[in-house]
């Protein structure tokens, strides 16, 4: 925009405005003045006068192409997003339809298309094409702006460079039939944003945030806010681990009766793993299903220290000091099943007891899996089928 070019010093002529009342006369004047090439032609009118844009030499708007492009972008983004959420990120089966059922995505696609296109048409027109808001334009500070936004039509010859001939422009407009002519000087300040203004705005926003935040904090301290829906949030039931005055022990939840034994958690008869090795044999026959169960138990509970294949290389970092046993060692391979079961129950060295976490079947499944690992990791030729 010429008004923003720094070459123009305040006080120089920005433009010469000629005022008209009759739309036909301003059209004729524009056609008459244009070939004289006195400066850039522009018109200021209270409403769009058809044909005036062509008469002053303004090309047709290219807004339509941008809106089309943004509309198509909106449609594709919506389709991709809907497809990605419904079929890939969170596959959701609805009414037995395919995961990527594009037909059902059409309504939202349409809405997003309209949303993108509308905001492009409205905001791009104002902000990008017309470079608004702009409060510093010289025409806004003329005497005739009152008439321009009311009922007068103004033809303007605007200075393109320093060689602009104010008097010639003035005469050309008068010859064209202008009722009055006004010379518009370049105002001293004509930029929409200065660094100072920008900083002040940011400081203002920050100050407003601080004040409102502090105010809200103070208000909340002063006035206890009633939480909405108290009747749904605070229900007269007791959650686990809540305190309660109802029971003598002050707990909300009840403890199991003394001596209660959970299924699969019978207290062991042995004291040490060695005793267990002498007393127990694996009661569960090895099946595919049990091996699979054993792998899960091993990977969930044992692999973190003993390694995925049981070689004693932990998944933990070296900063973990203890040295887990190599389950593939000859010494352990020679131990009976009951011994391994006993270690799971009682723990050994740094290893804690896993009795509370695993029931009887899980423990024996893990023992099977350790045996599978021992055999597969030291496989011999005759193991091949």
């Amino acid at each position: 925009m010429s008004s923003q070019s720094p070459s123009q010093s305040p006080g120089a002529t920005f433009a010469v405005l000629g005022l008209f009342s009759d739309p036909q006369k301003i059209l004729d004047a524009a056609k008459q003045v244009r070939p004289k090439r006195l400066g850039r032609l522009e018109a200021y009118t209270p409403y769009p006068v058809h044909g005036l844009d062509k008469a002053v030499g303004i090309p047709p708007s290219k807004l339509g192409r941008l809106v089309l492009a943004m509309g198509l972008l909106g449609a594709s983004l919506a389709l991709l997003f809907e497809g990605w959420t419904s079929a890939i990120d969170y596959p959701l089966m609805t009414s037995g339809k395919a995961l990527f059922s594009w037909q059902a995505f059409v309504p939202v696609m349409f809405e997003v298309t309209v949303l993108f296109a509308t905001f492009t048409a409205g905001l791009a027109m104002l902000f990008a094409f017309n470079k608004l808001p702009f409060f510093g334009h010289p025409v806004l500070h003329t005497k005739v702006i009152k008439d321009i936004t009311r009922d007068k039509l103004a033809l303007s010859i605007e200075a393109a460079d320093a060689s602009f001939d104010t008097e010639a422009a003035r005469q050309a407009l008068l010859d064209g039939g202008a009722e009055t002519v006004e010379v518009v000087p370049v105002p001293a300040w004509n930029r929409p944003l200065t660094l100072n203004g920008l900083l002040l705005t940011i400081a203002g926003i920050v100050a407003a945030c601080v004040v409102s935040g502090a105010g809200l904090y103070a208000l909340e301290k002063l006035i206890p806010v009633i939480p909405p829906y108290v009747h749904m949030e605070d229900q007269p039931k007791l959650n686990a681990f809540r305190s309660s005055t109802f029971f003598a022990d002050g707990r909300g939840m009840r403890m199991a009766v003394e001596g209660t034994v959970a299924r699969g958690h019978l207290p062991p008869a042995f004291k040490t793993p060695e005793e267990a090795g002498a007393m127990l044999t694996n009661p569960l026959p090895l099946t595919d299903k049990l091996a699979e169960r054993g792998r899960k138990v091993f990977n969930d509970h044992c692999a973190i220290c003993h390694g995925r294949v049981g070689d004693g290389v932990p998944l933990l970092s070296r900063a973990y000091g203890a040295k887990p046993a190599n389950l593939l060692s000859k010494e352990l391979a020679a131990r009976p099943d009951g011994y391994i079961y006993g270690v799971i129950m009682k723990g050994k060295n740094a290893m804690p007891s896993y009795a509370p976490d695993l029931d009887e079947n899980d423990r024996w499944a893990a023992v099977h899996y350790v045996r599978i690992l021992q055999r597969s990791q030291n496989a011999k030729d005759e193991d091949l089928p």
């Binding site: 844009d53 959420t85 959701l92």
Partner: protein
């Protein structure tokens, strides 16, 4: 008026849309002088009434928030109740504004210019009223943002195959687009207001809102293009928004809802109800704001003709509903349709048909179309009838569906009625305030189509 139309018989000639002499300048003086005048006493009384209604509504909403959704009449099997009836009703009211501002703009119906601004404002206010209900109806409105797909710690997305999600997108798009459209039309008017207001806070506000609009020809080129594009885009919304609302019903299996006629039937009903509301408000506005020479009897006559046409479409839709029930040979659908006009809620169906189909037939008579009391009566009847229609669709269908053991009657509570009253209070409060602070007629559009405003031909363009 060009010579081509002058040769036409009198009935086919374009209607006179302006009474007396109006020039580009006098239009501004007439429409934009409102801030300099003290509003009449009646305005304060009206504001008092609407604010009272609004306060009652706000109290009832607060009561609902505090005690929960149990204060409403909703319960199984009628889980939708007033919340959804009022939502559909208000969204429908908005449709007239978009039809007037978008479709009639594309059709170059010049009579729309005088009423476009007001109806667009009514669209925005009506959608605001509509938004209250589904948000409260969610039960926990503070989680209303869960309706939008955003990355969250639950790793969940909304179900894009659900019409309820389409509804969220449709209504929020509708609101945003209406707002942009409205504001765009207001920008040049703000500039006019800015330049005719004396220095002061009011001038500053209008200056900021006008964005420094200066009416440059290079701006008008883009402006007109943008307005045309927006009209085209909003046209799609007129049809789509209420169609999507009807999908909430039509894609379910409830007897009386599962019908392919629902989308066009809902759209026609929305335009019907919206026009009735526009007529009610405009008759009051043109009288109290002395705009009768710009919003003439011819304008009201044309709108009343549209109401009549929509009423006939509604009659056809009701008839088709019966036809579908009969032809389906499905005892459940037939039972529901019988329930519409007889049985416990039969009075609601009778009221709907009387108000929507029978009373508007009065508009076949020219004298009724041009009589203010008569058109207010018909429009009030249509407003009541269209609210009743949503009551019939929602309550009657839900209260007796496939499982007779689950049948249950629905009774709204005082709180239900209070919130409905509050929504009317909000709507009319906003309408009253709007008439005081913003130009109620799109002066820029009017100016461009006034006689002598365009070069070359005597009559106005568009």
């Amino acid at each position: 008026m060009s010579t081509a139309t002058a040769q036409l018989p009198k009935e086919l000639q374009p209607l006179e849309l302006i009474e007396g002499k109006v020039t580009v300048g006098s239009l501004d003086d007439q429409v934009l002088q409102f801030p300099d005048r003290r509003p009449p006493k009646a305005w304060f009384i009206a504001l008092g009434v609407t604010l009272t209604a609004l306060i009652i509504g706000v109290f009832c909403m607060g009561y609902t928030l505090y005690y929960g959704i149990g204060t409403w009449g909703n319960n199984r099997p009628v889980a939708w109740g007033f919340g959804i009836i009022n939502f559909v009703f208000w969204v429908g009211i908005g449709h007239a504004g978009t039809l007037i501002s978008a479709i009639l703009f594309l059709f170059r119906a010049r009579w729309r210019n005088a009423i476009a601004r007001f109806s667009e404002a009514m669209t925005i206010f009506a959608v605001m009223c509509a938004g209250i209900f589904p948000v409260l109806h969610t039960g926990r409105p503070w989680f209303a943002y869960w309706l939008f797909p955003y990355p969250n710690e639950r790793a969940l997305w909304v179900n894009f195959r659900s019409p309820l999600v389409w509804d969220v997108f449709a209504v929020s798009t509708y609101f945003s687009v209406s707002l942009v459209f409205w504001y765009l039309g207001l920008v040049p008017d703000f500039a006019s207001m800015r330049d005719r207001t004396k220095e002061g806070i009011r001038k500053s506000i209008y200056s900021v809102l006008s964005l420094g609009w200066r009416g440059a020809a290079s701006h008008w080129v883009h402006y007109e293009k943008a307005y045309l594009l927006l009209a085209g885009l909003a046209t799609g919304l007129v049809i789509s928004v209420h169609s999507v609302v009807s999908f909430d019903f039509a894609t379910s299996l409830v007897p009386g809802w599962h019908m392919t006629i629902f989308p066009p039937y809902f759209v026609a009903g929305a335009i019907f109800a919206g026009f009735a509301m526009v007529v009610i408000v405009l008759t009051v506005v043109r009288k109290t704001m002395n705009l009768a020479n710009l919003i003439t009897d011819n304008h009201l006559d044309t709108m009343n003709k549209l109401i009549l046409a929509m009423s006939c479409i509604m009659g056809y839709a009701y008839f088709m509903e019966g036809g579908t029930a009969w032809y389906s040979a499905n005892p459940y659908i037939q039972h529901t349709f019988k329930n519409y006009v007889s049985g416990f809620y039969g009075w609601a169906g009778i009221t709907t048909i009387t108000c929507n189909v029978l009373i508007p037939q009065l508009f076949w008579f020219r004298r009724v179309r041009r009589s203010i009391p008569a058109m207010i009566f018909v429009s009030l009847a249509v407003t009541l009838g269209m609210w009743m229609e949503r009551f019939v669709i929602i309550v009657i269908s839900l209260s007796q569906d496939y499982l007779p053991t689950a049948w249950h009657k629905y009774m709204p509570t005082k709180i239900d009625f209070g919130i409905l009253l509050g929504s009317f209070g909000l709507f009319f409060t906003l309408v009253l305030l709007f008439a005081r602070v913003l130009p109620v007629i799109a002066t820029t559009e009017m100016k461009a189509s006034l006689p002598g405003a365009q070069a070359g031909h005597g009559g106005g363009h568009e």
